[in-house]
Amino acid sequence: MKVLIAEDEPVSRHLLLNYLRQWGHQVVAAPDGAAAWRLFEDGEFPLVLSDWVMPEMDGLELIRQIRGRPTGAYVYIILLTAKAQKQDVIEGLEAGANDFVTKPFDRGELRVRVRAGERIIELEQALAAQNRALRETQAALVQTEKLASLGQLAAGMAHEINNPIAYVANNLAVLRRDVPAALQVFDKYREGREPLRTVAPDLVAEAERMEKDIDLAYIRDSLPRLFERSLDGLKRVRDIIKNLRDFARLDEANFKEADLNASLQSTLEIVGHEIKKNAIQMRTDFALLPPVLCHPGKINQVFLNILMNAIQASPSGAVIEARTRVDETLSTFGVAIEFQDNGCGIKPEHLPHLFDPFFTTKPVGQGTGLGLSVSYGIIRDHGGIIEVESAVGRGTLFRIRLPLRPPGETATE
């Protein structure tokens, strides 16, 4: 590991440098406290060996500075000094040193104390890593909870929306039928315009003026279109709601027979906005698939994951293809779903880690690194596998193979 030495006495400094290098460490040495602090700020030094009495900044001050840092990994500090009184030991440890070695120091003693320090540092690093993992799992769980409750919210809302959509659409259909009928009555009256003009010319003149003011001809022309387009708009809303429900599939917590083409289609529509935003050209090639016994909500989650990765890896205007076909490579008959993008590709050194939990190539804060590992788990639970083929600069292919029934599973309806 990286070690920082702060020692003003040149012989001691060189001695320490050599010993630590012999023990396999990367060592940097400073001739005084201030220089040592500057070096410390620039680098990550888990282990610091510092003299006490030094020009510019003494050892205790250096130690206080190090301990005073608000964040950062754990630092183990060994204070080296000729001062040997009990009081000095107390002062040194109080300032924040982990250990105290008196000069002249014995090589063997220094070695074991450094090793003790290494053990502590390893423990601290393991602890920090575990904490990080825990925090990220918690964040991912919260995210999943959020999505789950969003899903439930959406489902509840979908039901609430259904009623108003239903009667608005129905009202439009009624209007579409009744308004032209009313206009026909009106037309009948207009047929009597000329005879009426002889008896009540003012009335007819005013009626004609009113017709012109409202541009009656335009109204009659546009009425059918108004009704048709409104009804179409409502159909679109209805389809969006249906997609949300199909996607969440909250009604089914059990395995169910599903048409994966339909599932994939509704997932594609869910990411429709992302596709448009990035000007992606989405191509599909669906073969006729037998129904697959699966947990449709979870399979949709896998599709969504892989699709979002493909979209994010692709440049604007690129092509992404989704293909489905029957598959016989697993030990039983099944289906294969492929997602092919022409994006940046995956580096070969990342490929073996792709499905590791928390593995991500996204910048910190974007994504949990859990998407693919959760997907892997879901497909595995269904008795299937996910395969990846990728070339940097050319693109990536994700292939999901699923048997028609998960092993040992029968439909629970």
Binding site: A155, A158, H159, N162, N163, P164, I165, A166, Y167, A169, N170, N171, A173, V174, D178, L234, R238, K242, R245, D251
Partner: protein, 181 residues
Amino acid sequence: MTETIRHSILLVDDEPEILFSLRGLLRKEFEVHTAQSGAEAMNILKQQPINVIMTDQRMPEMSGVQLLHQVEGEYPQAIRIVFTGYADIKAVIDAVNQGHIYRYITKPWDPDELLSVLRQACAAHDRLAGHQRLLAELRGYLGDCVPLLKGLPQQEGASPLAARGGELLTRLERVLSGQDT
């Protein structure tokens, strides 16, 4: 043009806008009655002959399937239809498959499809009613046969016709009393 009697339809939904909207769609072809709850619906059924009843599934107090279960018991001649959004679909599909409900219609519905289903339901009602009438008539005829058969001479060594007549009489009496089907 001959006066055709319009079929009577009872619409049940806790949302009044839906009832108003449906009345607008159906008023020309059908005699429309509306109710906002299962209890109100049962009241109307007591007072009016209803050919087709169409109810929302999700209602407070009594669900659509529960209401139709009651209707089936008391007014078996009414054709039963339920509206549903997706969440309730399992309960509804079960009821349809067990033969208690004629059809289900999803919300939102397509107005033309809805009209078509209702027309088919009315036709189903008429067929059912027709069968009932036919059965009643046949019973009547059979009933009339009983005194005829009783009047046939009964003696030792009588003709095969008389013997046969005796058999028929016993069977008839059993059928008419409802012991045979």
